[in-house]
């Protein structure tokens, strides 16, 4: 399928409706999850209370920021398994920076840049060494995790109080922010990323790359350089997610976020992203992240044990991918 063909489908009016319905799927899922849990709850008022919504939003931030980067990578036909390790590494780096007497702002920037660096190295391994993304980033998963433990001297890195700690608090200061500052940052980033993906040349190229790499190259896109950019930009976002994680723990923890790459990939997939590349949306991924956060929160408040939670989230991922397969097979036909 050439990219043009897909664009033509979107232009056609019936396809227009179809695409909106596709986008509505995850929204409907989210609404259903919230409604179902409200019915199950003894006190639905608590579940839907501003405080609980605040908490769920703050809990979504790390996965959501990661999912913004991951959406770009998955649309381009790639995958990144090293996110969890990158989050741990950048969190540790930021905490160490603050301990070295850097200002919180410089430590924040350092954390983000280290994330970007990890992403660029991933991109180089994929393009220059010709290692498939799954393997290249699987390797980075180990390398970044090990580096995090090494620089942290195998301990958590505690640091003096600083304003980064306030990024994801339950009661924001000043109170008129309503939700934690990190939530606002996430919303701004998501909107920016959605605009970039939809309305810029760069965004079009990302879709083209994921739809058909050979065709994209034939059209004159420097695919290797594009990939390095994509992994690099996503890496910057993973770095920011790492700073957010540090803010929540108030320490750099080299063992944190193990396995969170799977949460992030699941958010993108639940939100309609296709692991075959070429399909996905930021809005969908954000909703995917929210669905998982509400599921966790809801399961806990209803009083289910952890294993039921794990089974439900696992089942939803499989169902979402089944939908993806079913849809892409229809497109080919």
């Amino acid at each position: 399928m050439v990219a043009e063909v897909k664009e033509n489908r979107i232009v056609a009016s019936s396809a227009w409706i179809q695409s909106w319905l596709n986008r509505l799927g995850p929204v409907l899922g989210l609404v259903l999850v919230i409604v179902i849990f409200s019915f199950l709850m003894e006190t639905p008022g608590r579940f839907l209370s501003p405080n609980n919504l605040r908490v769920v939003l703050a809990q979504t931030v790390i996965v959501a920021i990661g999912a913004i980067g991951m959406t770009m990578i998955i649309i381009s036909g790639g995958i990144d398994l090293s996110v969890g390790s990158t989050i741990a590494l950048t969190g540790v780096i930021t905490a160490l920076g603050i301990n070295h007497g850097w200002s919180p702002t410089s430590a924040l920037i350092a954390g983000i840049l280290v994330g970007g660096f990890v992403g660029v190295v991933n991109g180089l391994a994929i393009t220059r060494l010709k290692v498939v993304p799954f393997i290249a980033t699987l390797g980075m998963l180990g390398v970044a995790r090990g580096t995090a433990k090494w620089v942290a001297n195998q301990q958590t890195v505690n640091m003096p109080d600083n304003w980064l700690n306030e990024l994801l608090v339950m009661f924001p200061n000043p109170p008129w922010l309503l939700v934690a500052p990190g939530v606002w940052i996430t919303i701004v980033l998501a909107v920016a990323a959605a605009i970039v993906l939809r309305n810029t040349v760069f965004g079009r190229r990302v879709f083209a790359l994921g739809s058909n790499e050979a065709a994209a190259r034939a059209c004159g896109i420097a695919t290797d350089r594009l990939k390095i950019w994509i992994y690099g930009i996503a890496g910057l976002l993973f770095g920011l997610a790492g700073v957010m994680q540090m803010s929540r723990l108030r320490q750099g923890d080299p063992t944190v976020a193990a396995g969170s790459e799977l949460d992030i990939i699941a958010a993108v997939v639940i939100g309609g992203g296709s692991l075959n590349g070429g399909v996905g949306s930021i809005l969908g991924s954000m909703i995917g992240a929210l669905i998982m956060a509400f599921l966790r929160n809801g399961c806990q408040q209803v009083g289910w044990p952890n294993y039921i939670q794990e089974i439900i989230i696992g089942a939803i991922i499989v169902i979402a991918v089944a939908v993806d397969r079913w849809r892409s097979s229809r497109v080919v036909a």
């Binding site: 003894e42 505690n158 108030r250 044990p305 169902i319 939908v323």
Partner: protein, 336 residues
Amino acid sequence: MRRIAFWFTALSVIAIVAVSCTKPDGAGTNGKKKLTIAVIPKGTTHEFWKSIHAGANKAATELSAQGNQVEVIWKGPLREDDREQQIQVVEGFTTQGVSGIVLAPLDDRALARPVDDAKRAGVPTVIIDSGLVSDSFVSFVATDNRKGGMLAADRLGQLLNGKGKVLLLRYAEGSASTNEREEGFLSQMKAKFPDIELISTDQYAGATRDTAKRASENLLNRFGDQVQGIFTPNESSTAGMLLALQDIGKAGKVFFVGFDSSQTFIDAMKSNQLNGIVVQNPFNMGYLGVKTMVDHLMGQTVQKQTDTGVTLVTGDNLNSPEIQTLLHPPLDQYLK
């Protein structure tokens, strides 16, 4: 369109499963205020936490019998030993509006903010097992680790008749509870048995049984021919040292006191390869954690710190009924 149908069916299936899983309870709360206490361990699979769970349930049963409806909700972090996951559990209970939280914090700093937030939202917290750097909690209910180390020092000192060469294999850098055991051991040794020479006190066993065995082998290589007494401050370091002693045929030839219990240790005590273990009382910790919280909620003043007890187990008292209930708490009775 068919995609929506797909989503709808999928979620309906989940909904049906969900509804059928929910127990039709909530009945039986006639008049009296019902207290829900969330108990949050560090993990859920280890025996230690199961004992705490059983103890918490025992407290709930007893207090309910006295007329305060008390319900214990048991919930560990989704990924065991993951601080972020434990924070999410604390936050979830805070907004759910439970009456109180009993928490074994995975980290003495990372869990401070959620506990502060809980206090601001009107949910008090009792800390069990490990400390928290915060002044937002009601009470700290835990093992007096210092005392545990001192018990071990007393035992070794008596076995050696107050003189000889002793080594201490520490657990890991930065672990607060074991550090207190080590300091308690050292201070008691120096104060009560001045003629005992401490030949090595600066080596660390590391996190696992495997690293502990390697560290023990290295230590025994250096001091094996002169050492007469050994203390190790937790389960993995004791297990590693025991294995190393068995390998070089020295087990049973030096006096060895460990910490925490396991079936291996009990067998080793029967064959005199281990001369004592200091054990904690997690069952009592769970019990007192919930009881302290309920006392606080009923408006009574509670102690800022409560010791849940440490006991020295030796080959002599191993078969006494008290020690047997300590080593094998009645889990089946309180965990359905």
